[in-house]
Symmetry: C2
DNA sequence: GATCAATATAGATGAATGCCTATATAGAAA
DNA sequence: TTTCTATATAGGCATTCATCTATATTGATC
């Protein structure tokens, strides 16, 4: 078989699985346009640094460990990166990887 | 909240979940371009009617009930429709719904 | 009408998911 | 160095998913 297509199917399905959960889809939507959905943070810029776990937790109404677990799924799929500042952790979208996934979907199914 | 966005999140995540399984993603890829992946069928046109369950089952190497179950997931997500001819059932992509999902993803995250 | 062929349904099982509470860790501040 | 705060980890539990075997259904054919 075609190794390129196979690798592509694997990573694409990982990304789709990450986004297939309503909470995670909502979270991605929020952090893609953080200034529209969160108020400014003290120790990290919403756009430059990302959104902290606490803000997401409060907004989505799940417990903090559950949110951390969702963020890890997004991170493993390559959709976000995390950066610790003081004792916060800020999550920021990886737009390029999202765009690549959309393009793959289009290649494969479009 | 915005009912439009909420409905959208629900149906989009349903479609993403349907496509997040590697087998289903592969099947969708095949039936989107059926002539590239299957040989002609006796009682149904690959493009006009769709691909029969038996062909998919043989190509993917799972059992027939498992394939039927996958096809039902795709159908529930609105990604395929089925049409019985004689005692075959042909599955055909619903391109418009797929395109809509891609567009929603772009709206929400792009 | 009996048989064959293609698909669907039923039911079981193991693995993965999503959620929680309780606790650990690590940096900041007192 | 004790305490506070933000996040991570551990572990348990219920639900959903992916798969199989066995069987039912339905149309075609003999």
């Amino acid at each position: 078989m075609n190794a390129y297509i196979e690798t592509n199917i694997e990573s694409t399905s990982t990304i789709l699985r990450a986004l297939s959960n309503e909470h995670r889809l909502r979270i991605m939507m929020w952090i893609m346009d953080p200034e529209a959905h969160f108020s400014p943070q003290k120790d990290g810029d919403l756009v430059k640094d990302g959104v902290c776990v606490g803000f997401i937790t409060e907004k989505i109404g799940l417990t903090q460990p559950t949110v951390t677990s969702h963020m890890k799924v997004l991170a493993k799929a390559g959709l976000v990166t995390s950066k610790p500042i003081k004792n916060w952790v800020f999550y920021k979208p990886q737009r390029a990887n999202f765009k690549t996934a959309l393009a793959s979907l289009n290649d494969m199914l479009g």
